[in-house]
Symmetry: C2
Subunit: 244 residues, 2 copies
C-alpha cells in the first residue's frame, strides 16, 4: 500500500499545521477513508536559510536521509512543508524513487497569471530564487521585501514562530504587511510554512494571502485520492501532479 510521505520538522509547528491541513482537506466519514501518511519529522536538519547564504552547514545529507526513510516506508509521493529546503529540490528528486512535489511551483499554480505578488520567505529562499523563477513562468512579477528595511521583520517573524512566541510573530508580520500595502501590493505569498501560523496573529486586511503549505496539502490530497491510497491501492509509477 502506498502513502503520502512528509519530510517535516522544518519547523515542527509548521509540520503539525501541514498535517492538519492534509487531514482537514480529505473528505472522509471515518478513519479508514483518510489517506495513509508517513512523516519523517527531523528538526535537527541544519538551518536551510543559513546554508544557502553560506553561513552554516549543508543540510542536504540530512534531507537525503529523510527522503530515503520515506521511500523505504512506501511513500508514493513526497511533500516537504519547508520552502527553503527546496533549494536542494533537484538533488532530493534525483535521489528519490517517489516523486516530490515542489512547494513553490505548486503554490504559484494557485495564482492567476500576470500581475505581481509579494513573496514572504526566508532570506535563503529569496537568495535561491526558486519563487522568482516559478512566478516568472506565469508572468507574475516577484515583489520581494527590501533586504534591509523589511526582510528583518520577516526573519523575526519566522524565528518567533519556531520559538513558539506567536504574539511576537504576528507583530513582526504586521510591520511587513503595512509596508507591502504602502507599496501597493495586493497579493502576498506566504512562502515560508511558519508564516501562515504567524498570520493568525497579524493584521492582513486588504491583502489576498496565498498559503504555500495549504496549496501543497491540497495537491497531496488530490493526488492521494486520485490514486486510491485511502482504498489500499499500491502506488508504484504514479504520474506526478501537474504543478510539480
Amino acid at each position: 500500500m502506498s502513502c503520502i510521505g512528509i519530510l517535516g520538522g522544518m519547523g515542527p509547528a509548521a509540520t503539525v499545521d501541514f498535517l492538519g491541513k492534509l487531514v482537514a482537506l480529505t473528505p472522509a466519514r471515518c478513519d479508514q477513508e483518510h489517506l495513509p501518511v508517513v512523516v519523517s519529522h527531523l528538526p535537527q536538519v541544519p538551518d536551510r536559510s543559513r546554508a544557502i547564504l553560506g553561513q552554516g552547514p549543508d543540510p542536504l545529507p540530512a534531507l537525503l536521509r529523510g527522503i530515503a526513510l520515506l521511500n523505504a516506508a512506501g511513500a508514493g509521493l513526497i511533500a516537504i512543508p519547508c520552502n527553503s529546503s527546496h533549494h536542494w529540490y533537484e538533488a532530493m528528486a534525483a535521489a528519490s524513487g517517489a516523486p516530490i512535489l515542489h512547494i513553490a511551483r505548486t503554490c504559484v499554480q494557485a495564482l492567476p497569471a500576470g500581475g505581481s505578488a509579494c513573496v514572504l520567505a526566508t532570506r535563503g529562499a529569496l537568495a535561491s530564487g526558486f519563487y522568482q523563477r516559478a512566478l516568472a513562468e506565469r508572468q507574475i512579477t516577484a515583489d520581494v521585501p527590501d533586504p534591509e528595511a523589511e526582510q528583518p521583520w520577516v526573519d523575526d517573524c519566522i524565528r518567533a514562530v519556531k520559538a513558539g512566541d506567536m504574539a511576537a510573530s504576528g507583530r513582526a508580520l504586521d510591520e511587513v504587511l503595512r509596508r507591502a500595502r504602502q507599496r501597493g501590493a495586493a497579493t502576498v505569498i506566504m512562502g515560508c510554512t511558519e508564516i501562515p501560523l504567524a498570520m493568525l496573529y497579524a493584521h492582513a486586511d486588504g491583502l489576498a494571502l496565498v498559503d504555500s503549505s495549504l496549496e501543497l496539502a491540497r495537491a497531496c490530497v488530490q493526488h492521494g485520492l486520485a490514486q486510491g491510497w485511502n482504498r489500499g491501492a499500491a502506488g508504484s509509477a504514479t504520474p506526478l501532479p501537474r504543478a510539480a
Copy 2:
C-alpha cells in the same frame, strides 16, 4: 540518532492533535532544539472498538506493520495516540524493540490516588477493561457510562470527530457530561483521543478533565529530552518511563 515513534492515524485528527501537543510541550527556541519524530499515520487499520466487540476484522496485523515501520525508522520510544488499540498492547510490546508507552497507564498516573473517575472511551476500550485495571491499581473507582442510556452519546461524539463534524461532536458530549455531573462525577478521563477535540465544542464546567493524549505527549517529551534525542543522542536500550 533515536527518535519518538508515533503509531497514528487512529484517528487522523487525533494524531494531528497529539503531534501538536508534543511540539508545544517541547521547550525549544529553534527547530534544532525540538525532538525528532517518525509518524506512521495509518487510518486504514481496521476499527479497534468493533474488533474488540467481535464485530469486525482483527487490526493486530496492521498495528504490527506500523510498529515494525517505526522500529525500522529508528524509534527509541513508541506512543500510540489511540486508546482502543491498547487492547493489543502486550502483542505490540512483545514485537517491538523500542518500548511502547501505555496510554491508559500513563494517563492514570496523572490522577491522585483514590476517589473515582468517569471514563469516556470507546465501547471496545471499556469492554477490554484496561482503564478499569489501571484505575484499580491506584485505588480509583472507574465510573463507566451506562451502555444503553449514555454510551451511545460517546459513540456519536467519537464518530462525529472522525467525520470532521465538530459541532455535532460537542453536542453529543454535552449530554454525557450533563449526566456525569448528575451522578456526582468530579473527574472525567478523556480516554479516547477524539474526545479532547470534541471537548473544545462542549460544556464541561464543574468537571476536572484528564486528557489521555496530553499525558501521553508529556511522557514522550520528558523521555525524549531526558535521553537527549534533540541533541542527536542515540537511544538504544533506554529504560522505559515510570508509568509504562
